[in-house]
């Protein structure tokens, strides 16, 4: 088993320049920066319209040091397939393809192409950064916006529907690797990317990326909030390797600890959850408790 990467053993080479247009305290920026360290320089990126497009920069200046193809919103995974096909006919064995798309571009408009690519066994890594809304266009709700969140187009009632479980959808494609990660746990993200890189077919990553303007918090608390999501048991770090589910990092430790921070703490930390009632929070707490009771049971 590979040793876990530490801050000190993390590669120091940077693949992003400073001075991007990302928001102050952007969670995606952290995940992206560390993710690229894991992917390395022999990578071609595919990016649909999203916050990342803005972070990557406007013509003619790019903030990323890697080759990147911008594509239409719905076509990320199909474009990745096209690049892979070309690399194959060119006999290029060493170049990886990695798609980085937002939750809207993945769970909503991009789901069809992603499902198609996964079913075809396209050999690339797909990283969905989930800031839980269409943040680039001003924080509208998406399929992965959690229930109760106030967004620009669920302004008074909050989102009425549950968060779409995209990793579960992708796991149903019999992938060699599916992972749920968080920008607040960058070393876990790094190790998972490195672990799966040589596995066959499509590898799917779902990365929780806190968003200060979209979620409503002081930017300095971004990592704290990302951690709280995990420590309340609300959002789990895991991997599914050839169909076998396993919690990782801090989530794995919680199974031993048997103690979750009340999810109310997580909701209180962001103004987007301001309309959640105590009753609604209690329901969510029960769901979390039930999920974890199951984890504890499997552990015994």
């Amino acid at each position: 088993m590979q040793a876990k990467t530490t801050i000190l053993s993390l590669p120091t080479e940077e693949f992003v320049h400073p001075g991007t247009r990302a928001c102050t305290g952007c969670g995606l920026a952290i995940a992206y920066r560390v993710g690229l360290k894991a992917l390395g320089k022999d990578t071609i990126l595919v990016v649909p319209p999203s916050c990342l497009t803005v972070l990557q920069g406007l013509f003619p200046i790019a903030s990323t040091k890697l080759a990147c193809l911008n594509v239409t919103f719905a076509s990320t995974a199909a474009a990745a397939s096209g690049i892979l096909a070309t690399l194959k006919v060119q006999g290029e064995d060493n170049i990886k393809v990695a798609a980085w798309a937002g939750d809207g571009g993945t769970s909503d408009i991009g789901l069809q192409a992603l499902s198609g690519a996964a079913e075809r066994g396209e050999n690339f890594i797909y990283l969905c950064y989930d800031n839980e809304g269409y943040m680039n266009t001003g924080a509208q709700r998406s399929g992965t916006t959690p229930i109760g969140a106030v967004t620009a187009n669920t302004p008074f009632k909050g989102k009425l529907q549950q968060k779409k479980d995209v990793p579960a959808i992708m796991a149903a494609h019999n992938l060699s690797y599916v992972a749920e990660c968080s920008a607040a746990y960058p070393l876990d993200l790094f190790d998972k990317i490195r672990k799966c890189m040589d596995m066959p077919g499509t590898k799917y990553f779902h990365i929780h990326t806190p968003c200060p303007p979209g979620w409503g918090y002081d930017p300095r608390y971004g990592i704290k909030i990302g951690r709280l999501a995990v420590e309340t048991g609300y959002y789990d770090l895991y991997e599914i390797v050839n169909g076998e589910f396993k919690l990782t990092a801090a989530s794995e430790k919680l199974v031993e600890k048997r103690k979750l921070i009340p999810v109310r703490e997580y909701f209180r930390s962001q103004s987007r959850f301001r309309i959640l009632t105590d009753a609604q929070i209690a329901v969510i707490q029960n769901q979390i408790d039930a999920k974890w009771a199951n984890y504890y049971k499997k552990d015994e």
């Binding site: 320089k41 022999d42 990578t43 071609i44 595919v46 497009t53 803005v54 990557q56 920069g57 406007l58 013509f59 003619p60 200046i61 790019a62 990323t64 040091k65 890697l66 080759a67 990147c68 193809l69 911008n70 594509v71 239409t72 719905a74 076509s75 995974a77 199909a78 474009a79 990745a80 397939s81 096209g82 690049i83 096909a85 070309t86 690399l87 194959k88 006919v89 060119q90 170049i95 069809q112 192409a113 499902s115 198609g116 079913e119 075809r120």
Partner: protein
């Protein structure tokens, strides 16, 4: 080598001869047999290509765009609603200046559903910045695919090779399959100015501002408007390059003609029927009938719809008494798109010179409505007596 095959196979053979190496395919009537044929070539090892059975047409063109950006010679084919589904990508490929070749097997668009032939699908893509070629028979199909790759890669503009669904795609005709060595002599391997790579990484087609902006080397780079202007400008010069393609092709393969128009008995004609695709060959039967009646009439096929060969068309029709445009599509709310473009070309080049013919527009065959040669003859005869109507007249309508 002469063979007898259908139009879809002719197209597939053209793609094979051109060594396309990334093929995206999604089924839609009546194009499906074309990409099926390609899957046979790929699985049998006759083509060294990656064949990707995508999950939608939007993804089909996405695959081609990405593959072309990485340096592959890519191909896909579609019809009707499939083309409409990829419309966003059609614009994208042109703005990205990618030399993709796509066969559009013309079919009517929904709503309501209709699988039969008309040209609304490709005509509706007129403004996207793709070059459009229209074929009249199977020889033109296979030859146009080959010419298209050469032209597209020369000017970095994607090309739609269009041919009529069923009428050409599914019928059998004899045609010559060019020798591979000759095609290789005509069409060198694809060498783009830039292909995505890790040694000189670049970020392609990101957000581009309305105004010009300084790059990292201190030079002022284009704004969006300049990039789009260059597409248009190079589309116009593509007319000249198309003539070069035609000549090169003729030199190597021994067949060809005027790159822009295909006239039949037009030299001494007083009235000329104009159209796109196989309809112009059917019109030749009407021409022959009317000629026997002493009417000096001819028919001219327009080979490139975009860029529109305005000068060639105006020169060919200069001094004629009337031009009768037959179309299997229209711009709803006004008139046939070809008729409009043609009128604009005639006005531009001939107004005030005393050589401006009238233009009569007939719409026929919408949704695959049978176009009876008799109806063509009658309508043409009537138009040579006097202009029938300012509004387009729909032939074969049964209201």
């Amino acid at each position: 080598m002469h063979i007898i095959e259908n139009g879809n196979v002719a197209a597939a053979l053209g793609v094979k001869l051109c060594h396309a190496n990334v093929i995206a395919a999604y089924p839609i009537t009546p194009q499906t047999p074309l990409t099926e044929k390609l899957s046979e070539y790929v699985e049998a090892g006759e083509m060294k290509a990656e064949y990707i059975p995508v999950e939608s047409e939007h993804s089909a063109l996405a695959v081609c765009i990405a593959a072309s950006s990485a340096g592959a010679r890519s191909f896909t084919a579609t019809s009707a609603n499939g083309l409409l589904y990829m419309h966003e990508q059609v614009h994208w490929a042109a703005g990205a200046r990618l030399p993709i070749v796509m066969c559009v097997v013309n079919r009517a668009v929904g709503a309501p559903w209709n699988v039969w032939n008309d040209q609304q699908d490709s005509i509706s893509q007129r403004d996207t910045g793709w070059i459009q070629m229209y074929c009249c028979d199977h020889q033109q199909i296979i030859d146009s695919v080959i010419k298209a790759y050469w032209l597209a890669e020369k000017v970095s503009i994607p090309i739609m090779v269009c041919y009529d669904g069923y009428i050409l795609s599914h019928t059998y005709m004899p045609f010559d399959v060019p020798d591979q060595e000759k095609v290789d002599a005509f069409l060198p391997p694809f060498r783009p100015d830039y292909a995505l790579n890790t040694e000189e990484p670049a970020n392609l087609n990101t957000v581009t501002l309305p105004d010009v902006r300084m790059d990292i080397k201190g030079e002022i780079a284009h704004g969006y408007m300049e990039i789009r202007y260059l597409l248009h400008e190079e589309m116009r010069t593509a007319l000249t390059v198309a003539a070069e393609a035609e000549k090169r092709f003729a030199d190597i393969f021994g067949r060809g003609g005027d790159p822009y128009v295909e006239p039949y008995l037009c030299d001494d004609a007083e009235y000329v029927a104009v159209g796109l695709g196989s309809l112009t060959y059917q019109l030749r039967v009407a021409i022959d009938t009317l000629r026997k009646e002493g009417i000096r009439v001819g028919v001219m096929g327009v080979r490139f719809y975009r860029p529109f060969p305005d000068v060639a068309v105006a020169n060919a029709l200069k001094g004629k008494k009337g031009v009768i445009v037959y179309e299997k599509a229209l711009s709803y709310g006004y008139e046939g798109a070809l008729a409009s473009d043609l009128k604009s070309a005639l006005y531009e080049h001939l107004a005030g010179t005393g050589t401006l013919p009238f233009v009569q527009n007939f719409i026929a065959g919408i949704g695959g409505r049978d176009i009876r040669t008799d109806d063509l003859t009658q309508s043409l005869r009537a138009a040579t007596k006097s202009r029938v109507s300012k509004e387009p007249v729909w032939i074969g309508l049964k209201l």
